[in-house]
C-alpha cells in the first residue's frame, strides 16, 4: 500500500515538473525520493543526472542552465547543508532561477513515525532546515501529500520571476 501511494505521489510530482518544462534533474538518492527516481527513470522526457555528492548539484545545474536547459536539483536536506558554498557562490551570487526539491528528513507530519535519526524525538536535519534557508533568503514551500504538489509549479514560477533559487521541501516518502 505504501509503495502504491508513493508512486502516485511521484507521478504527480513528475507531472508538475513536466508542466514547468524541466529537462534535467540533478540528483542524489535519499529515502524521500526513491519512488521519484523510479518514476523519472521511466520517463524519456526528463534526464536524470546522478552525482557523487550534493555539492555538485548546483554547479551542474548552473552549467545546464547556462547552456539553455531547464533544470531542477533533488537531494535531501542533509545535502543542502553540505552544498552551502555552491548555494552561496553560484545559486545566489549568479542569481539562478533554480528549482530545488529538498527531501525534508525527519519533518514532523501527522501520523508519520519518528525519524530513525532522531535523538530525544528531534531530527536536527529538520530543525535546521528552515532557519538555514531563511538565513540565505531562499523562499520555500512545503509538500506533505499528493494534494500539495501544485506548490512545485508555484515555486518554479517564483524562481523564474525573481531570478533566485526557490526550494520545495518534500516531507513525504
Amino acid at each position: 500500500m505504501t509503495t502504491k501511494v508513493s508512486s502516485l505521489f511521484a507521478e504527480k510530482v513528475l507531472a508538475e515538473l513536466k508542466k514547468c518544462g524541466i529537462t534535467h534533474i540533478v540528483w542524489l538518492p535519499h529515502s524521500e525520493n526513491k519512488a521519484m527516481y523510479e518514476t523519472v527513470l521511466q520517463d524519456a522526457g526528463i534526464t536524470l543526472v546522478p552525482v557523487c555528492r550534493e555539492g555538485e548539484c548546483i554547479p551542474i545545474a548552473a552549467g545546464l542552465w547556462l547552456g539553455g536547459k531547464n533544470t531542477a536539483i533533488m537531494h535531501q536536506s542533509t545535502g543542502l547543508f553540505e552544498a552551502g558554498d555552491s548555494v552561496r557562490g553560484l545559486a545566489l551570487d549568479m542569481q539562478l532561477p533554480l528549482l530545488m526539491l529538498i527531501g525534508a528528513r525527519g519533518w514532523p507530519t501527522p501520523g508519520s513515525p519518528p525519524s530513525p535519526y532522531s535523538w530525544n524525538g528531534i531530527d536536527s536535519a529538520a530543525t535546521f532546515l528552515e532557519p538555514i534557508l531563511d538565513a540565505w533568503g531562499i523562499k520555500h514551500h512545503l509538500v506533505t501529500n499528493e494534494n500539495e504538489t501544485g506548490q512545485i509549479s508555484s515555486a518554479y514560477k517564483e524562481a523564474q520571476s525573481t531570478s533566485r533559487p526557490v526550494a520545495v521541501l518534500i516531507a513525504k516518502e
Binding site: 557523487c52 554547479p59 557562490g89 542569481q95
Partner: protein, 187 residues
C-alpha cells in the same frame, strides 16, 4: 615543467569555438590568453566547481566542445566530479588540470600529498575515455590538436612549477549580468 601561462596560450590557439570554463588562478591566466572571451565562463565563487559547471554545459551543448581549466587544489575539493563526469561521459568535454602542487591563490601552501598524487591515473580509473599527463612543453604542444579533436571525455594533467607568488594577472568577477549575457548565446 610547463609554464602555466604558456600552456594557456597553447590551449587558446587550439580552442576553436569551444566554451572554456575556468576557476581560481587559471581564471586569471586564461583571461590574458583568451581571444574569445565571449565564450569564456570564469567561476569567481565556489572554489572547485569548475569541473561540475563545465560538465553541465557539456551536457547542455553536446555539439560544442567544452574545455575546463581546473587546478589541482580545486579538483581535490571535488574529486567525486571525476566519477560523475565519467558516468555520463560527454564526448565533447576536455578537462585540463594545472598541477602546481600548491594553493597558489592563497599564497603557495602545499596541497595534501602534494606531487605524489597521479591525477591522470585518477581520471583514467574513474572512467574518462582518454587521460594524459604532460611535463614537457613540446610534447604537450605536439599532442594538443589530437586532444581537441578526439571524442572524450578527455583529461589532461599539466605539470607546472610551484610558484608561491600570486599570479600578476587579474580577471573580472563574473556578475549576474555577464551570466545572463553568456546564457543568451544558447537560448
Amino acid at each position: 615543467m610547463i609554464d602555466s601561462m604558456e600552456a594557456m596560450k597553447v590551449i587558446s590557439k587550439a580552442r576553436g569555438e569551444a566554451i572554456v570554463v575556468t576557476t581560481m588562478t587559471a581564471k586569471n591566466e586564461w583571461h590574458q590568453a583568451s581571444t574569445h572571451r565571449e565564450l569564456d565562463f570564469g567561476i569567481s565563487g565556489a572554489m572547485s566547481k569548475a569541473s561540475s559547471l563545465g560538465f553541465g554545459l557539456a551536457l547542455a551543448q553536446p555539439n560544442r566542445k567544452v574545455i575546463i581549466i581546473d587546478g589541482d587544489g580545486s579538483l581535490l575539493m571535488n574529486l567525486g566530479s571525476l566519477v560523475t563526469i565519467a558516468n555520463m561521459a560527454p564526448a565533447n568535454l576536455i578537462h585540463f588540470v594545472v598541477e602546481n602542487g600548491i594553493y597558489r591563490i592563497t599564497g603557495g601552501q602545499p596541497t595534501p600529498n602534494s606531487r605524489k598524487v597521479s591525477f591522470s591515473a585518477l581520471a583514467r580509473d574513474a572512467g574518462y575515455t582518454h587521460s594524459y599527463e604532460f611535463e614537457d612543453p613540446a610534447a604537450f604542444q605536439s599532442k594538443i590538436q589530437n586532444i581537441m579533436e578526439q571524442p572524450g571525455p578527455t583529461f589532461v594533467c599539466l605539470k607546472c612549477p610551484s610558484i608561491s607568488e600570486r599570479s600578476p594577472h587579474k580577471s573580472p568577477t563574473t556578475s549576474p549580468d555577464s551570466v545572463r549575457k553568456f546564457r543568451e548565446m544558447f537560448v
